[in-house]
């Protein structure tokens, strides 16, 4: 470990998405496609064959007009910390060839495309369907190939890919900080493409452990919740919503249970182990 790394405190980069603000415009998806060289096909009608590192889901409260309410849920990779917060995210521990790894300095789950041999065990393990498989050779219309991002490698057929929280932007920010003689990078220096593109400011990104970063405060808000918390995957993507029906859509509840009781239930469960 170099001196530089020793000085740098461990980060837990995470995202907070305010669902009350999200309009479902899809700008985050478009930005992600462009930033990360995500290929697309002529026919994208089958969404389970689409490559997208972030996908916006539309959910409703199930009530008929005029009581219908809609909410959009953008879903990138949750960058799970794993059951015991030790980096054993559902996907990392199952990969047989160490092609996906948990980066302890940042908490970001990486994917090494040239190492992946396409067994798709990580996809089976991920409860969020955040992992996508390259079923076809990647291709872009001829003119578009000129616009590919040189900082992100394009992937080959037969491997798994997923959201990296634009890790290449973190590397760039770190290089810049190093050249300027800093140990730390500023909050604004490292922001993923989707967060930058969001026109309503619904997405916030930063170090969840740094009290100076906005996500620190937001992730601790009463409105904050995560998807499928009961699975104990410990995602680093938080959502904010003031609507109780939206929170109910984020996890599975037994009869009589409600999102409010969840924390209590979890405490009892932990105590019983």
């Amino acid at each position: 470990m170099t001196k530089q790394e020793q000085h740098t405190r461990t980060k837990r980069y995470g995202m907070v998405i305010d669902l009350d603000r999200c309009t479902g415009c899809g700008a985050c998806m478009v930005a992600c496609y462009a930033e990360n060289n995500v290929p697309f096909k002529k026919n994208e009608s089958d969404k389970m064959l689409s490559l997208n590192w972030i996908r916006v889901f539309k959910v409703d409260n199930g009530k008929p007009f005029p009581d219908t309410e809609i909410c959009y849920i953008p879903k990138p990779c949750m960058q799970c910390d794993g059951r015991h917060m030790e980096g054993h995210s559902p996907c990392v521990s199952v990969c047989p060839a160490v092609a996906t790894d948990y980066d302890y300095p940042t908490g970001i789950v990486s994917q090494i495309y040239t190492r992946c041999f396409g067994c798709r065990y990580c996809m089976a393990a991920c409860p969020y369907h955040a992992r996508k498989f390259n079923w076809w050779d990647p291709s872009w219309p001829a003119e578009m190939e000129k616009y590919l991002n040189p900082d992100v490698s394009v992937r080959m057929r037969g491997v798994v890919e997923k959201c990296s929280f634009c890790y290449h932007r973190y590397q760039k920010a770190r290089d810049k900080a190093y050249l300027e003689g800093r140990d730390e990078i500023y909050e604004h220096e490292y922001q993923p493409a989707c967060v930058e593109a969001c026109p309503t400011g619904a997405m916030t990104f930063g170090d969840l452990l740094n009290p100076e970063h906005e996500v620190y405060k937001l992730s601790r808000s009463k409105k904050a919740f995560r998807l499928l918390e009961k699975l104990h995957t410990n995602p680093k993507v938080y959502y904010l919503s003031s609507k109780s029906w939206v929170r109910r859509k984020a996890d599975n509840y037994l009869e009589g249970q409600s999102p409010g009781q969840q924390n209590n239930a979890r405490k009892t469960e932990t105590a019983s182990h």
């Binding site: 089958d46 199952v94 996809m123 089976a124 369907h129 037969g158 491997v159 998807l227 499928l228 509840y253």
Partner: protein, 412 residues
Amino acid sequence: MTTPAIPEGVKRCSTGKFALWLAVVGAVLLWGVYAMFLVWYKGLNQTGMNDAYGFALWIWADLTVIALGGGAFFSGFLTYIIGKKELKSIINYAVIIGFICYSSALLILALDIGQPLRGWFIFWHANVHSMLTEVAFCLSVYFAVLTIEFLPIVLENPKLDRIPFLHHLSHNLHEVMAVFAATGVFLSFFHQGSLGGVAGVLYGRPFAFREGLLIWPWTFFLFTWSAAAVGPCFTVLITRITEKVTGKKLVKQATFRLLAKISGWMLLTYMIAKIIDTWYWAAVTAPAKGFTLMDFYTNNPVYGIWILIAELVICGLLPAVILVTRKGRENNLLLMTGVILAVIGVCINRWVMVLQVMAAPLLPFQDWYMYMPTWQEIATTILPIAYGIILIMLAYRYLPVFPQEKELNSGS
């Protein structure tokens, strides 16, 4: 050389008839090979899989052939380690069936991975924490053991046996076979278990996840146990089919009954463990993750509670009861019913632990995922069956597979 290729003292059909059947099965094989090359050339877009179904028909086929091929390790264990001499009359065939099953599993795995040319990464860059790594290692090494166990049978072909070195090699391999068999049992215990662990460790998938002992989820032990229980049933089934096709008695009834009895008790104890596991999962494990048992069996067109009943009762407890009772084993029809139900039961178990895991939705705003295999997937899954039949045809014709055949058919 004038030595006949067919073992001494046994009757085989004419070369013409043999070639005709070889051509028929060969045509099916070629269909599968064509599909196989399509998949390798064009990629996995040739399948019905998608991002929800990363694991599908092939992984099911893989798990199933390995469970059914478990007859080789368990018969080997009973013959060489426990010392059940009666099983010597069927062990050769159990080894051949195991060899077919395991070579098929390796072929299917080579098809299933997105980058087949990088398949060796699983060994080279092994992640020792992954159940799949353990599967790959144990499976490959055990396949090597099966090849070594198969080798002396091949070398006993009259033409090969004439060559002094091969004759001695066959003899010497027989001499130390117990060592290989013991290694095979050790490896099988782990890879059969790890295949169960593949689903059981998925803590993000409440349908599959199980608690367990140390690093091993309960499915680890259940898979090993069920393979040991049903593997011999599959050996009995294939041997009886071979007897029907050839019109000959190949193995003594007593051997079938002994295997069936051992299978029956293994199956009964397995079913008790499996039912306790299912109950604990439905009552404790799944509810802690926000799911009730019926969440996994409703709101979809395929997976109703019938599949659980079929697996546990009709193809689980029922065959176990048939096979542990003397009357059940002595009645030929009941015996075969028990054997077939047990084989179907393990097929259902492996299906559920692969495909239903993928089908069940996790987020409340998502629906069940349904999957339909393409013809390429089906053809490549039938391919190993055709290959297996051809290998059995060749082995039966040219190798002394059944030591009791001469004695049992001397009257005819």
